[in-house]
Amino acid sequence: MFSNITADVSYYKTAMDLRVQRQQIIASNIANADTPQYKAKDFDFSQALQGAMYGRQQGDLTLAKTSTRHIEGSANPASGYLQYRTEKQSAVDGNTVDMDLERAAIAENSMQYEVLTRLISDKFSGIKSALASPQG
């Protein structure tokens, strides 16, 4: 059980990092809801998490190792590949922020973040109860 604590927690950590990044990008979209020519951006969370777990960033190439003497590149911090949102209704000022969509996205994202904090807590409390002596 203990051998995979680090792996488990680092999985949650990566997911939380990505959730924080997504929170930032959605907050930027909402902040710029009245900025002319601003284009709303977002990234695909599940793709970004998968990419981070396989140790490669989307849109980036990893170094190929052809010799055992090649140095292992340190893993890049996980980050999502930003894409523009497709707009449902166009605005005269060229802004593509859809407030309903962004509000829903930020609520969903913060909820998922809280789920992750709960999962980590549960992991720790599981370890705590395993460590507790049965004799009390």
């Binding site: 930032q24 990008i25 902040a31 009245d34 980050s79 904090t117 409390s125």
Partner: protein
């Protein structure tokens, strides 16, 4: 912690929206002004927003800044009032070019955006508190 960036972004939006609200207040207050400080009829002021990168996150977190405050190019409203000391030879007075309906719409939009950004701050704060509670169950 990069969640603090959300605060920076939201507070930049709060600042920008309150400047917009300030401009609306000036415009509405001067909707019937005949002469402004430069001797010409009052021109409506409009703020221009611009996206600005916040922190060193690049495209990831973009706040708002007021790029400039421009004078509305619309022509002044002509009002027939021959008794006014500012009337021209045909009896018309150049009034301010403030469009009151437009300013009311601007005001509602600014206050809605302000509220939304306050909510974003509250959400970020809640997320931080949850983070601090990890392992305390």
């Amino acid at each position: 912690m990069s969640l603090f960036n959300v605060f920076n972004v939201a507070s930049s939006a709060l600042g920008a929206q309150s400047m917009r609200l300030n401009a609306v207040a000036s415009n509405l207050a001067n909707a019937d002004s005949v002469i402004s400080s430069d001797g010409e009829p009052y021109r409506a002021k409009q703020v221009v927003f611009q996206a600005t990168p916040m922190g060193n996150m690049g495209d990831l977190s973009q706040g708002v800044a007021v790029r400039e405050v421009v004078n509305d190019p619309a022509p002044p409203r002509m009002q027939y009032d021959p008794s006014s000391p500012f009337a021209d030879d045909k009896g018309y007075v150049k009034m301010s070019n403030v469009n009151v309906v437009e300013e009311m719409v601007n005001m509602i939009s600014a206050s809605r955006s302000y509220q939304t950004n306050v909510e974003i701050m509250n959400t970020a704060k809640q997320m931080m508190m949850k983070t601090l509670q990890i392992g305390q169950a």
